[in-house]
Symmetry: C2
Subunit: 179 residues, 2 copies
Amino acid sequence: MVYPTPVFVVGTFDKAGRPNVMTASWGGICCSQPPCVAVSLRKATYTYGNILERKAFTISIPSEAFVREADYFGLVSGRSTDKFAATKLTPVKSDLVDAPYVKEFPLIVECRLVQAIELGLHTLFVGEVLDVKAEEDVLAGAGLLDIDKVKPLAFTPDTEAYYGIGRRIGQAFSIGRDI
Amino acid sequence: MVYPTPVFVVGTFDKAGRPNVMTASWGGICCSQPPCVAVSLRKATYTYGNILERKAFTISIPSEAFVREADYFGLVSGRSTDKFAATKLTPVKSDLVDAPYVKEFPLIVECRLVQAIELGLHTLFVGEVLDVKAEEDVLAGAGLLDIDKVKPLAFTPDTEAYYGIGRRIGQAFSIGRDI
């Protein structure tokens, strides 16, 4: 129970090469060098087997405008449903890893699986980030993102709701300097 | 590079029993059963050695009102500074684990170290959550939190800024049902 948690849409291919996506909120950045992200999934998910098989996954960050699609991706299983077809979103095969991402989402991270750590109900997958793609119109210049344009979602683990990002409070490594 | 990342204040005791805190944004929930959280730290931090020594840590979630203190906790090292004294915040020893938390912060998670996974510059610490404490006035009833009262911070990894949480967008496992 920590606040906030992110909303990640995890993209994988299954054995037959069909693209799948699922939504996960247990995850985050876990290393700067090499750049790595973590995402934890239950064994029961279709994505779990896909990651182990393909040794790769992507994380597509939905903007607020795609909250319905992101929620849907967590409601149904890729075993029985083509979630891309159902949402009319577009799977794009990564050039770098054996996994697809969601073309319409503003921010994409492409990962090579480096570790799978069984913790209990969830298994923590660590992926090395091989590339980050951002839509031109969410950039603030100098390769930086503008969070007010990305409009990522935050998830509350207990009340299970989606929230937007609010106002800028201050600059890190700066606002506390006068203490 | 994923959005958003949380702002965790990690509490530990050093060898001498002195309470220390540092701020970290690489982390999140990583398992539901047993409940576990992950936080990644550089070896160079004072907290790194403290966690390995004491096999325990806490995460105190600062509200917006404590953004300056949270930032300060990431600016200086506990090797040379008593961060509690400097900020006039209060360390409380957990009854359950060998680590202190920040009394004034609205949400506290107390963790027993279960794994330390070296990834590179950062080491990912997995802690089993033994208790979650929340201030009465951030509860929404039924043991649930009201995020508008907790007012947690979000951090942008590239532009290094703190943000608040914004408006409620919708209910998870619900808003996507009509697709």
